[in-house]
Amino acid sequence: MTSETGVQAQARAAERRPMRDLGTGRFGDKLFEWAARGSGLLVLGIMAAIAIFLIWKAIPALRANEANFFTAETWDPNATPPKFGIAQLAFGTVMSSLIAMLIATPVAIGIALFISFYSSRKVASGLGYVVDLLAAVPSIVYGLWGVSVLVPHMEGISKAINAVLGWIPLFGGDGVGKASIFTAGVVLAIMILPIISSISREVFLQVPRANVEAALALGATRWETIRLAVLPYGRSGMIGAAMLGLGRAMGETIAVALVLTFVPGINIHILQDGGATFASNIANSFSEASETGRGALIASGLVLFVITLLINMAARAVVARRKEFV
């Protein structure tokens, strides 16, 4: 101890001192610390309160339910005794959103790639601006456009798909229509396309110039450069964009409610009329629901929340798996 100079002692003390102790103890620092901590706790508190309220509302309905909440395909919470289950809603929600994501993501990424790498600088800045604007338009606008313009043509499209791919059970069945889960998926795809495209473009803008030049200098063509330097770098961002689109598609209400005609029971033939999603079901039946009926709808909403959460976690896991490389 005696041989240690003051400077050394200070250095050792600084080494031991963790980051959180770097505060200077000044009033401003303290104030900010409390403000930050306070708002964090407030958000958590509000969320917990909402969750507790919803669960509390849902429990009586679930108690009264005579059917299995997870496996039953009927939704009759207003009957006596009430019988309801989410199986059909879950199927409709997951299926229509997946279709939307599968259609929208490649198209959106294609648009983003075109704007970022294939168009001239002038066109790119103009188009980029337009895409960002489109992404800011509430998706219900596209939904209504889809319902009024696209849906009338969907019967023919569905028939064509049914004729070619009918051997796949999903696209099979007789008498395909336009009020189907597939149509809902297509409308949802249009609704989520701009946001996926806008985020992907943002992601591509982040790709370091050095990576792109490295690929070009190796003698990569434009497409090879995109494959070597752009897509791998933007991978997690693109997954994030697709997941955000999927989440939006799942929560989308009115457009889907306008498209689907309710036919009870899960129908694996998604080109046929029928189907329901969590959101469309809530939109269609909340106003006329009894006390138990509302509780049942709230319970279904909670399930939607859990599904969205699981999807988000899955997406994070996919992104984290190659974190070493990003």
Partner: protein, 258 residues
């Protein structure tokens, strides 16, 4: 494996800005030519005209002639992509592909050239990493990310990536300026070894480095801000550093510049 570069009457522009003016020079095969000169005099710009990387910047264009042996790099039927496969490049900041393993970084250019088959790829990857004096350091972790290496190792990885495709010419733009002295020495050793196979052009800010590694040295300068860069003189390195023809060169190498 190595070709002669002959440049005549070369001008390069960034949009309306005239960046380099009327450059003519010959670079001999299997030699090292160093470019020196003050910042902003167009060394990087000129280097990038030699593998048609200049034109990837929007609005940038080139006038004049660059011959690689018998081939005019700016000929009307020449594909710039093909040029870049023949003339490799190493950048100032090491830029391995961040999402790729060490192995995949080296193999990236090979795959572009249609080299297939694991055995063949393994062989060339090892050879290139040996060639870049990096093999012994990374042979046990080829599957690990290239971005996890030290700066000097990353730069040698980039050199391995560039030489894996067997270019005729290797261009290096201040390859050591982001590196520590030990890594710098490692790269300089490597340049001495690579010149047996490749025609090498290196831009450097460090005059000792130019003196150590190069056979010929070219001095570039600008008349003033906004004026295009010019080639002042190119000669044997020993001559440039002991008895240059031009006063400007002498002022620069003796540090009396500006």
């Amino acid at each position: 494996m190595a070709k002669r570069i002959e440049v005549s009457g070369l001008h390069a522009y960034y949009g309306g800005v005239h960046a380099i003016e009327d450059i003519s020079m010959t670079v001999e095969p299997r030699s090292v030519t160093a470019f020196i000169g003050p910042s902003g005099c167009g060394k990087s710009t000129f280097l990038r005209t030699l593998n048609r990387m200049h034109e990837v910047i929007p609005g940038a264009r080139v006038e004049g002639k660059v011959m690689l042996d018998e081939e005019d790099l700016y000929g009307p039927s020449v594909d710039p992509v093909a040029v870049r496969r023949t003339v490799g490049m190493v950048f100032q900041r090491p830029n391995p592909f961040p999402t790729m393993s060490i192995y995949d970084n080296v193999a990236a250019g090979l795959k572009l050239n249609g080299v297939r088959g694991k055995a063949r790829l393994d062989e060339i990857v090892e050879e290139s990493l040996q060639g870049a004096n990096l093999w012994n350091e990374v042979k046990d972790r080829l599957g690990k990310p290239g971005a996890g290496l030290s700066g000097g190792q990353q730069q040698r990885l980039c050199i391995a990536r560039a030489i894996a495709v067997r270019p005729q010419v290797l261009l290096m733009d201040e390859p050591c300026s982001a590196l520590d002295p030990i890594s710098t020495l490692a790269i300089e050793d490597l340049i001495g070894k690579l010149k047996n196979q490749f025609t090498i052009v290196i831009v450097t800010h460090n005059m000792q480095q130019a003196a150590r590694v190069s056979d010929k040295t070219a001095f570039f300068n600008i008349a003033g801000t906004g004026a295009p860069g010019r080639l002042i003189e190119i000669d044997d390195t020993s001559k440039i550093f002991t008895n240059p023809e031009q006063k400007a060169t002498e002022d620069y190498i003796t540090g009396r510049f500006g």
